[in-house]
């Protein structure tokens, strides 16, 4: 295979794919009204779940099983990343970040900012049923606090064992809450095991804030463990 055919094959493939995309693009007209499932979600969410944010209601309640599967996929990813990189653990006390050693400013700033960031993450995932946000966004914010600690070398206080404890207990409680939904309400992961409360207040929407907080903790722990295993392992000579 010579040089020009090697260059030409990707271009031909992309030209074909691009013509498919162009046909899709040219023939697309946006709908005037919602389709049936979406209009069901729009009109019944408040009555069924008591949540203000329809996206949250779909993720946590209507398609809760999908979210459980997704969190499991994320757990598997974290486990595989840890396994693939397991042979090059850092010796104790050595920084693995590969950046310059952290200065006084970064260390002090981390000490001040990490609690605030954790608080903000908790705010985001506890208000997921009222405002934009929720477990995945809040989990990413919690993981960014972990990232800051990794950058300033103070991550030893936040041990890997604690991360895995948080991760596994949050996952277990999530599944138990789902099973409680089968026992006391309409089905697996039904949020009506707790009273729906008054619409629009923080303690409303049944079990949604609880479940989303658990998802947030689990996602945050999984992202943190991916970050630590990609960062903290050092070439062992």
């Amino acid at each position: 295979m010579n040089f020009t055919t090697r260059k030409a094959i990707p271009l031909v493939l992309l030209l074909l794919l691009g013509s498919v995309f162009y046909a899709l693009f040219a023939g697309y007209t946006p709908d005037e009204t919602l389709n049936r499932s979406a209009s069901y979600y729009a009109s019944q969410t408040v009555q069924d779940t008591g949540a203000q944010n329809v996206v949250t209601a779909i993720i946590v309640t209507y398609r809760g099983l999908d979210t459980l599967g997704e969190v499991t996929v994320l757990f598997l990813t974290a486990a595989i990343v840890g396994l693939v990189l397991a042979h090059s653990k850092a010796p104790k006390g050595r920084s693995g970040s590969g950046f310059l050693p952290s200065g006084e400013l970064l260390t002090t700033g981390t000490r001040m900012l990490v609690p605030v960031i954790l608080l903000f993450g908790a705010y985001v995932f506890l208000n997921g049923h009222l405002t934009p946000g929720g477990g995945f966004q809040g989990g990413a914010i919690v993981a960014s606090a972990m990232l800051l600690m990794l950058l300033s070398d103070s991550a030893e206080r936040f041990s890997h064992r604690l991360i895995s404890r948080i991760e596994s207990s949050a996952g277990l409680t999530y599944v138990i809450l789902g099973l409680l939904g089968m026992l006391f309400a309409g089905g697996f992961l039904d949020n009506r095991i707790l009273p729906l409360g008054s619409f629009g207040s923080i303690l409303s929407a049944g079990a949604i804030p609880l479940i989303y907080a658990l998802i947030g903790l689990k996602v945050g722990a999984e992202f943190s463990s991916i970050l630590t295993s990609l960062e903290a392992t050092e070439d062992s000579q």
């Binding site: 995309f21 697309y28 389709n35 329809v54 295993s229």
Partner: protein, 119 residues
Amino acid sequence: MNLVQISLATGFLLILLGLYGALTNRDILRMIVSFTIADTGVNVVLVAVGYLPGREAPILDTIPVAEAASRITDPVPQALVLTAIVIGLGVTALMLAYAYRLFRARGSLDISEFTELKW
């Protein structure tokens, strides 16, 4: 051109650009960067398909519940894309971990050095 058409075109072009980069780059890290661009493009396309012109975000704090079905956009693609973004990070982390292992094994990130499965 309206908002939906511009976003759809952007998403499709991002997919094409990302795939072109993934097919033509030699460096494994650059291939992974291209894949994340294609990933973003897919998400933009999905959200643009769910958008109905002139409607508001699917959050019922200012919208009365009775009018919800006629005033909010489709929430289902948004839930789908939310999960897709999170899984996308997982996939990227996995690709990066394998790329690092390949670098440890061979001391190089050039894809043409890895010829075991080539015929």
